[in-house]
């Protein structure tokens, strides 16, 4: 099902908030598609979901689950 902008924006916010996407030090938050795909892959792998890099239903459901407010250290690049 085609996703609306709000759903995509919520997913990017989640990846940013929990350390899967790196906040650029300067300039606006416009991420390259390949960065978002890489962040999604890291999230899917850490959540033991099929690693597709796509914002599928299971990934969105996982992002809605209650959780701790601290960042996750699972994206090696952002962690570094």
């Amino acid at each position: 099902r085609a996703l609306g902008p709000a759903e995509k924006e919520a997913a990017v916010d989640y990846l940013l908030q929990y350390g899967y996407l790196q906040k650029p030090l300067e300039g606006p938050y416009d991420f390259r598609p390949e960065d978002i795909t890489e962040a999604l892959r890291a999230f899917q792998e850490a959540s033991e979901l099929p690693v597709s890099g796509q914002l599928d239903g299971a990934t969105r459901a996982r992002m809605r689950q209650p959780r701790c407010g601290l960042e996750d250290p699972f994206n090696q690049k952002t962690l570094k």
Partner: protein, 432 residues
């Protein structure tokens, strides 16, 4: 596991600054959940946590919502972010007050598990990539038999080392009888407001203990203490006790269950216990220590035994009728104790009886245990006159477990107890 930092000391203090709304979790249950959360970590690492009621603490637990003057990370209402914490050596642990915090149920969010997770952060652990680990970022739901994942244990031991069992304990453990320990499933956590007590005991340092199922809690004038599993305080002690009694004369605490008796000094079991009862009938109902003659009284059905802990006892004339000595008390009491106010109390069902110095039940009794001892106010107050005041009162007029209003009596008891007996380890002739 991921390490984010560590404390340079292993003995930490903590303070619970506020509690979640009592509508979802009674304060004593919330408190027990928070205290048990610390135990997960102190069980596997050489860490100790001491609670302070005021002033500075290393770790500070609090609940806040969307707005908080103290935290720049506001929460987001029910769901999504449940809690957060600072890494060492900052020590703040915050819970979202809008969550449905629960204990012992699949409903809502289990406070104990989330508290243990956030304490993991406060101790220096990051999120684990094992989705079933306590330190996984996403809440995996309530698990009745929850315990730490090996990744959690490896992480905390990487920071603080392994917990070293005290050698002494090990030796004593070797001495305990080799009778196979019956596997004990903890019973469900009781609600102090609606239980029939297994036992009541005025213990060392004037603390009043209530026992029910696998749990024990203290009763004070300001409320109830947290519920602990009896085995967490008295190692090796089973739940569902028949009776409990502390003797200031010998400093011994005796617990009775079935045909066995356990003996402790404070929280330490003495070698050779538990022992078998064979000159006293098994499955007692209650026990109390009477400071006036410094004897222990054991009750079962309509009979009692009087036992001198330090002498050879002749039980041939026992059991004697309870009513012969304790006028007006019910048969088969569920609990009994002499209390700080110099009165003797008997408990049965949801009621209790108070006896005067002549061991005669006083007028106006029985009364409601929940209302007068367990600070449960939603119940309808006693129908008997209670002196007209609304203060909860186990004594009918003034309830002050701290004993401040009772100086003369307790000192009278003290003076009677100031014997120069030095407990000698005589043969417990009940079991010989």
């Amino acid at each position: 596991y991921r390490l984010l930092g560590r404390w340079r000391k292993k003995h930490l203090t903590f303070r619970i600054l506020n509690m979640p709304s009592p509508s979802t979790l009674p304060p004593h249950t919330a408190r027990a959940a928070l205290l048990q959360a610390f135990q997960y970590w102190s069980n596997v690492a050489p860490l100790t946590f001491r609670e302070v009621q005021a002033g500075w603490a290393d770790i500070r637990l609090s609940f806040h919502g969307r707005q908080s003057p103290y935290c720049s990370n506001t929460f987001d209402g029910p769901g999504r972010v449940l809690a957060h914490a600072d890494i060492p050596e900052l020590g703040s642990v915050h819970f979202d007050e809008d969550e449905l915090w629960t204990e012992g149920t699949y409903r809502g969010v289990n406070l104990r598990i989330i508290a243990a997770h956030e304490l993991g952060h406060a101790l220096g652990l990051g999120h684990s990539r094992y989705t079933q680990a306590l330190m996984a970022p996403v809440y995996a739901g309530y698990r009745p038999h929850f315990k730490l994942h090996r990744d959690d244990v490896a992480g905390i031991q990487a920071l603080y080392g392994k917990k070293i069992p005290e050698i002494e304990d090990e030796e004593e453990e070797m001495e305990l009888p080799t009778t196979p320990q019956v596997p004990r499933e903890p019973s469900p956590m009781p609600d102090p407001c609606s239980v029939e007590l297994d036992a009541m005991m005025l213990g060392p340092r004037g603390k009043t203990y209530a026992f029910k199922g696998s749990y024990v809690w203290t009763v004070t004038d300001s409320g109830l203490g947290p519920l602990f599993q009896v085995s967490a305080l008295w190692e090796g002690l089973p739940g569902n006790l028949d009776a409990a009694v502390y003797s200031p004369r010998t400093q011994w605490i005796h617990f009775f269950k079935g045909d066995k008796v356990w003996r402790y000094i404070n929280f330490k079991i003495l070698p050779g216990f538990p022992k078998k009862l064979n000159r006293i009938e098994p499955n007692l109902d209650a026990a109390l220590y009477w400071p006036v003659n410094q004897k222990v009284f054991l009750f079962k059905g309509s009979g009692y035994w009087q036992w001198d802990e330090l002498a050879r006892n002749d039980f041939s004339h026992y059991p004697k009728p309870i009513k012969q000595l304790f006028t007006g008390v019910p048969d088969q009491p569920s609990a009994a104790m002499s209390w700080q106010d110099g009165h003797v109390y008997f408990f049965k069902g949801k009621q209790y009886w108070r006896l005067n110095r002549q061991l005669r039940v006083e007028k106006g009794y029985p009364r409601d245990v929940a209302h007068n001892w367990m600070h449960c106010y939603s119940q309808t107050p006693d129908t008997a006159p209670s002196g007209g005041d609304t203060t909860p009162s186990a004594t009918g007029t003034d309830y002050s477990p701290t004993g401040t209003t009772l100086d003369t009596t307790s000192s009278a008891i003290d003076s009677t107890l100031n014997t120069d007996h030095s407990p000698r380890d005589t043969i417990l002739d009940m079991t010989s």
